[in-house]
Structure formats: C-alpha cells, structure tokens
Amino acid sequence: EADIYQTPRYLVIGTGKKITLECSQTMGHDKMYWYQQDPGMELHLIHYSYGVNSTEKGDLSSESTVSRIRTEHFPLTLESARPSHTSQYLCASRRQGWGNEQFFGPGTRLTVL
C-alpha cells in the first residue's frame, strides 16, 4: 500500500468558498503531481512539482494553485470554488529516476453547489 494520503476524501461546499485539498506522502519522493479526473474518465495533469519550492502548471489549465514548502506536503488551493470545479482530484508522487513507480493517493471528491 502506497504511503500517500489525501484529505478530505469527500467535500461538498457552496460557490465562492476557498478550499484547500491536502496531500502528504511519507516516502520522501521528490516529484509530486495533481490530477483532475471525472469519475472513470481520463486523468488530466493540472500541477506538478520537481521538489521543494518548485511548482509547474500541467497540461490542463486550472484555476487552482499549489505550493511545495516541504517535501512531503503538496496542497492544492481553490480561492473561489465554482460548480465547474466539481470533480475528483488525485495526488501522486514518484521517486527521482527513470521508470520509478508513480503512486496515487485515494483522491478527494469535490462537489461545489
């Protein structure tokens, strides 16, 4: 079982609220990623990080922001949630080096009313 955790697992909030989705891993992985996925559908990379103080936007444009102050922690923030942000958000990490396994967290299912 991968040591990567996401909280909360489910979140239902109203439009305009600020939210932070938490992601932590205890494997010491340098690289971390955030994906957006509608149920059973394709995974879209929205943010990634090479390591501490490194953040990059992914292939899918997102209004969310991320930070990487500590190796093990990679939170995602939405300043003002909208119904279009309703989706599942998956966090992942992998160790530096080619071909190393990428581990996924269990996901946060976000519903914005």
Partner: protein
C-alpha cells in the same frame, strides 16, 4: 492533442476469457509504458510496466505486448476474473524532466461471472 490513444472504451468479457486493451502513442521519445488499474472510489494503482527494449513482459495473468515500430502496446489479462472488473489506463512518459505520465482515455472492463 491526445498523445496516447486507448481502445476500446468499454469491454465485457466472460469469466475465464482473455481481456485485451490496446494503446497507441505518437511521441517516439516515450520510453516507459505503465498500465494502471483503478477501482471505483480509489486512486489508480500500477499493474505492470514495460520499457521499449523488450517486446513482452508477463506478471502472473497480466502481459504487456509492445510493438515499437508500430508505436503500439497492449494489455492482455488471461483467465479474466470478476475481481478484475475495473477501469484500466495505459500511460507513457519520457525519461527527461518531470517524467510526466500521459494517460490514455481509460477502458472500463467488466468480467461477467
């Protein structure tokens, strides 16, 4: 631009049968090809992966076949079981930079008892 195309979108197989899922890629710089399995409400988990210097890799009932010249790879599940019912994603990445995984669209596999 979809760099990894996966088919079929859904697949129904009888218990004991062979499940086959196909993927094609465009970027010849890809050199790592994993398959992920995802159950409802869970994050994807690595099933099996292959590098382009081999044409086939087998782990238990799961086999990846790789055709470098055709830029195609496939997952074969032998003796398919109801517990194999899940969504399967192929992916590909290069060894440079963030080693971002590019995912296929996913295949929802159902194994009928």
């Amino acid at each position: 631009q979809q760099q990894v195309k996966q088919s079929p979108q859904s697949l129904i197989v009888q218990k004991g049968g062979i499940s086959i899922i196909n993927c094609a890629y465009e970027n010849t710089a890809f050199d790592y090809f994993p398959w992920y399995q995802q159950f409802p409400g869970k994050g994807p988990a690595l099933l099996i992966a292959i590098r382009p210097d081999v044409s086939e890799k087998k782990e238990g009932r799961f086999t990846i076949s790789f055709n470098k010249s055709a830029k195609q790879f496939s997952l074969h599940i032998m003796d398919s079981q109801p517990g194999d019912s899940a969504t399967y994603f192929c992916a590909a990445s290069t060894r440079q930079g963030a080693q971002k995984l590019v995912f296929g669209q996913g295949t929802r596999l159902t194994i009928n008892p």
